[in-house]
Amino acid sequence: MAAEPVEIGDAMHGLVEQLHEVEGVQGWVLDLAEPQRILDVELWAGTLCLARTQTGLERPDVCSSVGLPCRPGFRFGDEAGRAIKDAAAQGHLGDLHVRVQGSSRLEAECPVRTLEMIRPISPPTDLGSDRLRATLNQHASDAMPLVNEATASTPSNQIGYLEGIWTSESGVTWMVGWMIEDTVTDRPVIIVDEDRYSGGMAISLAPRADLAANAKAFVAVIQTDWLVKINMPPQIVLADGSGRYLEPVRPAPLMEPEAVLSIARDTLSRASGPHRAAMLKMLEANRYLPADRLGSNRVQVDEVAVLPGFGAFVNGWALSSNRQASRFVLKVGSHTVRAVELCQSRFARSDVAELLPNVEQALKTAGFVTLFPGPIDQAALDQLSLEVVWQDGTSTIVEVPPVTVRVLGLTSSFDAICRLYPAIEAERFFPELAYHAARFAQVQARSVRGYECNPVRSSLLLAAPRQSADIFLLFDQALAHAAFLPEDWGISIIASPDEHRGLVLTLFAQLQHAAGRPCSLFFTGDAAPTSDVIEEVAATLSSERIAWVASHILLTATGWKDVASDEGTFALLAIDDPAGGPPPALGLDAFVADLARWRRLCAAAPPRIGGIQLPPQGKPIPVIANAAVSLGPAPGSPFTLKINEAVRRAYG
């Protein structure tokens, strides 16, 4: 077998030797054309540039190796580690890599490290109803010793007014009103009428147009033994020794449940805070809650498409009889995200015309698709709400029905976004969207479980095709040619657990029985098998050398014979078109490599749907001729091809 070299050129020559948020980031790089030039080196995580430094450190080992005088070493300072941790804590995603400013990634000889690996597990940002009650009970207990500590009710201590109060059958007291804005959202309180009672109170605050800037409408729930008395509205005194209190309005606060709960619902729809979601749930459970009276503003969310790490696209409509929607805000738990107005599309929604007659002008722009950028906490996907701010400053908040929320790449395909943005590749956000889509797909694709694992030093990894006919062919060829492999090679099949799982198991059992080589079988999570699984499979099998054949590629008899004969660290298998067309471009659809070499390739390559692409190489790569044939185009929709191309242009 004669290997044909292939030229792929790049002037930068370097290696990242350490890439860790605690242990440091260091390596070396030089421009072969100007070896003594000091280079600007950047540390990136996904699409975020975290830190910069320069080369200039002495590396006699490198100089000796390249035979040129140079100072190619670099080391990032401690601030790089802090920047990595901060980015992870903020929810950003992406793999750590180093690149020369304006150039492509450097290869790394250390394991891949991602922000997801570093990010601490965040505590829940919202309390469920039960937890809220438990907290309020604790506050009520805390307030008991303070019940009889008398404080003077001076007007200067008054912080707001009670406008409505009602106790539910479950013993929860609801209060509405307004108060000077306060950051404490739950606390012990003393309820004062003709007697004094301890209580635990939680509040959610919302803006209200008639209030001063530092005042907010509030909804409060109080857990207490106190019962409301019609002719004795209470004061609510904060049990923190400050003497601050809420005064009931005169002549009396509202006490009808329908009135109080309606105000509570309206306020909560505009409120924020950690207790909002729990209070909404408690509110909705109330049988006295009247049906929502429709106002002049209507908003509906039809669909939310979330791309982890990137943001959320919201599709819906907003219609008013007398105003226009001005901007949109998405609330994710206690976090709010403003829509990017330049990425917004407004269009006609004639299907909602029957809701409001004679608003033809408004209907023309009632529909919207808009982007809310930034990481969206996946734990909060059931707690989304959308605020539509009208041109007069008022707003309408609607809960986003969880059933409308999709996660791109997980519960719906990436292609689904094309329905919302037909020309998405022309949008300015597309490169970054593409990066996060590819990244997410890569993470999903790495999930693999061993069904039958037989450790072996060198392993031929065969991705099972999508069609049953090609699965039969794969195993038929494996049985026919397994004997060509040296005895220290094994065969591993990687398949997805789809409708062909039974067929794969049956044929694998026969292969295992007759191949005469160690055979292993892996199943992916639910993604089609790609080269993203190699690290996990090799680790499971303790393999140091691997050959990979993608699912749409078939090894020829020559390929079976020659795949194990190459002794270099990396070689590509040439793929021909059996139908006589031009051969596919050389790439990573079929190759053989040492695991260490594969890892460096992975570190240098940006994420890609369907497995990484061969990054630019500094020297020719051996090619094994006549090794494989294509069974058809590589899997992937035209849109995923666009994603991959956008990532390659922007990041690779």
Binding site: Q467, L473, T506, A514, A579, G580
Partner: protein
Amino acid sequence: MLMDKGDMRQPQGRGRIAIFSHTHPSLTSGGAEISAYNLFRGLRAIGRDAILIAACDEANLDEITLGAHEFALPVRGAFYDHLYHIAPRDVRQSLLQLLQAQNVSLFNAHHFLHIGVGALADVAAAGIDVVLTIHEYLAICNNHGQLVTRPGQMLCQGPSPAACHKCYPEHSKQQFAVRQQHVATALTPVSAFVSPSHFLAEKMIEQGLPRERVEVIENGVPSVETVQERRRSRGVWRFGYFGQINPFKGVGVLLDACAVLARDPALAATIRIAVHGNFVGQSASFIDRFNAAVQEFPFLSYLGPYDNQNVAQLMAECDYVVMPSTWWENSPVVIQEAFRARRPVICTGIGGMAEKVVDGETGLHFVRNDPADLADQIAQAADEALHTRLQRALPRPLTSIEMAERYAAVFKQVASASV
């Protein structure tokens, strides 16, 4: 001339021959399995040591009826690939073990369905000579071996990866190219190929089979003691269809022709069209259409499935046999049976049918898929002088014995070449 009375002579010491059929006549009555069975019986009748191996789905093993020297090879229909024709290894192993246990020296496969093309190479590698009899175009056509395009149902002049991809867009051109190479590689160790028609032989040679290894041997049919040449009824002309009732066999064209014939009440009163066969595997809509036609046209009747052993008697009740197939066909056993019964054939004028039935001499041709032309030929056929002339020119079909003797000559050549 030896007549095949089922007289099984004792084997005369030459190598054992295994005839492989993809199914058994006790399960289905298609041409390939009937021909294979006739050959098996004919070889035994001339004193050759022959066994029959019939593939049988595990679920149907209780239904197969095996005679002496007949074996069932259990297969699993769910675990067989119909694109590349690959069977699981255990099926191939079972076949090989059976052949070796029976000391078979020559394997004549009349199909590779259920055992896969790779089984031929397995058998050859075990030192057993392989002869493949080709009854249709499955080696080169994924559409049931019919060489008919999808969805247009046009006749395919010759396959190519690009053309096959158009018929089956769910499979790529590359897959069809690989299929072509895979089958070609698997057929390399086959010592000889037998085709029942020159038409099929030429088609396969065009696609790469070596001409020097291809023989043409007509399908033989068992002789019958007496043949009723006279017409059953002078007043009415009877046309019989025999075979599986499916669209490929042109039954739809026949039904449409009935509609044309019905427009001439005087003609319709003088004809009877009898359909013999079964609907196994047909769609409910097709069966409904057939039943509706039987209801609508008084001259059309369905006489149900038939036992192949009675086909001569059934054909004797007819004046003509109608074969309206829409695909090329090879050498339909029905045509040989019709000749044996001394009944002219009205058939589509293409492919193997046109080779076996000479238009205006031994039968009449009509234009493929043209019910009006079929109706015209039926009307023309209802003529004493024409019927007599055609009947007199009918060739004598090969008997099973004669077929077996010709096969034996090929087997002898193969065996000599492999020594």
